[in-house]
Amino acid sequence: MIDMHVTLPGGLHPLTLNNPVMTASGTFGYGVEFTPYGDLTKLGGIVVKGLSLAPRRGNPMPRVAETPCGMLNAVGLQNDGAEYFVRTTLPKLPWREVPIVANLYACDPGEFGELAAVLAAEEGVAALEVNISCPNVKEGGVIFGQDPRQAAKVTEAVKMRAGSKPVIVKLSPNVTDIAHMARAVEDAGADVLSCINTLTGMGVDINTRKPLLANVVGGLSGPAIKPVALRCVWQVAKAVSIPVIGIGGITSAEDVLEFLLVGAHAVQVGTANFIRPDFVFRLVDDLAALCERMGIEQWDDFRGTLKV
């Protein structure tokens, strides 16, 4: 039987996961919401809801809408702030048994640095994931993740204050050339890349003539985007030499292997957590069984072995 553990090489403290199946930020709350439905320590790792320095109320309602094989969200990063998380929520999490990854959201590089310092200082935080799908308010609102120089700046700012904690940079698919973005943040010091964040989308109601989201546009996620996510992970994994975490539309153990096949070291499961709250726990079991059935004995024998 396969040893499910996976280590993401690089960095001072390489991140070792119980298995390649992590949860994606914003879709698994702070982890604690799911304790009735499964054993958190069974997971590869838990990426918590995006955290900002100050608490945020988020966007007005409605914030979510269902779409064909997917959903739109514009939650607007509602969260209690990093301080509250560190003081109140983190102690409730089994962080010695399962890596907890903090997901960082800020509006300029300086703020990102401060946030990184707060979170990296915590023993219970195993790694930092930088959400660069946010506008740089100081630079006229350009999205960090759509401009290689801005993305590099954020990466450097976080890296500088992250101490020995691995820094994961989460890439946006809403760009002309994702490989270019990936190289830019790799050069800026990222230890790991995760991709993809949501695709920008929109929905409308023809009866009310209103958008489905108060924010008008939002992020598309779910199985609908899996082909785009696989393409991005494949392009990024070829372009960089640091490990990549695949995200986007995973709803089965087969999907997990698809991402590993195109070069990912691990994956994150997002929208599928809404199919049923025990989804990701079952997925870990399914993955072990599938590997057994397919005779996969080591992740290294399978990862990136796509025949092109």
Binding site: G26, Y37, F274
Partner: protein, 289 residues
């Protein structure tokens, strides 16, 4: 509060109410009994048939009507794609169910309690009426647009004092609103409790009466829910300065975990800058939530 769980339950049967054939839009869905220790009226379940394709990812929230030794019953109305698919369930089909979710209505057996139900909002009150230890302290006013036979009104009417109000035109609606106002004042005068469940415009009216007349009132909100467990932050409502936790006042709280039942003065409907395109907006779904 009881710990929720996620289980697979078989459909026992699906009973149309009021109409039959392709016309039927109201159903009682009976599922196998889940192994939950306990539940309280006002709580709900998330429900997703195992056979649903991934084109529709989310489960749907429904109030628990009853959990007996043999079954779990919910009552639903077809308003869109998800409920239309639920109406196609057959005996033996498997449904993923998680619950019991959310808080519950206040239960004060000795307090005169008025239940205000709008349309399908009657659902949680079935359990409330049936589990209330002193049903003689319970009253109900029920407003509905479809014929009464479409709703499980009888099962409440046989336990407690219940009045139904058929809204067939605009005059009926204003009469019903007037009645609600009068009844709420009556219950205030008795130091009573008011519980309301129904479409958002209805809850808005109840809330404004509650504030105006100063009667202790709880509202069970309907919002669109993706997860039901507090994780997606898609179902939030805006709190007021009356919110018990000062840190949360004026913020957004999850309806699925902090609600669905709220004290009228602790939340507000007013901040919905772009109000959700709810059932009430679409012509075909004008009458019920």
């Amino acid at each position: 509060m009881n710990t929720p769980a996620c289980t697979d339950l078989k459909v026992l049967d699906l009973v149309p109410f009021g109409q039959t054939g392709g016309e039927a839009r109201f159903f009682a869905l009976r599922l196998e009994r889940p192994q939950w220790a306990d539940w309280k009226p006002g709580q709900f379940v998330m429900l997703r048939p195992a056979g649903w394709a991934l084109d529709m990812l989310w489960a749907r929230p429904f109030s628990i009507c009853r959990i007996s030794a043999r079954d779990l019953v919910i009552f639903f109305r077809v308003v869109g794609r998800g409920t239309a698919r639920l109406a196609q369930l057959r005996s033996g089909d498997v449904v993923h169910v998680w619950g019991p979710l959310g808080n519950a209505f206040a239960m004060e057996p000795d307090t005169p309690t008025l239940m205000l139900a709008g349309g399908i909002g009657i659902a949680p009150f079935i359990g409330y009426a049936h589990t209330h230890p002193k049903p003689w302290n319970l009253w109900m006013d029920f407003g509905h647009r479809m014929p009464l036979g479409c709703y499980p009104f009888e099962s409440i009417n046989e336990k407690i004092m219940a009045d139904s109000h058929h809204e067939e035109g605009p005059e009926d609606l204003s009469r019903f609103i007037e009645t609600m106002g009068r009844r709420m004042r009556e219950f205030r005068d008795q130091n009573g409790l008011v519980l309301a469940c129904g479409p958002t415009p209805f809850l808005r009216t109840v809330r404004s009466f509650a504030l105006e007349y100063g009667v202790r009132t709880q509202l069970s909100l309907e919002t669109r829910m993706a997860c039901g467990v507090g994780a997606c932050l898609g179902c939030v409502c805006r709190t007021t300065e009356q919110w018990p936790d000062p840190a949360g006042a004026g913020g957004n709280v999850q309806t699925c975990t902090r609600g669905p039942v709220f004290w009228a003065e602790q939340i507000t409907f007013d901040d919905e800058t772009a109000a959700p395109p709810t059932a009430a907006d679409a012509p075909v779904q004008a009458c019920e939530r």
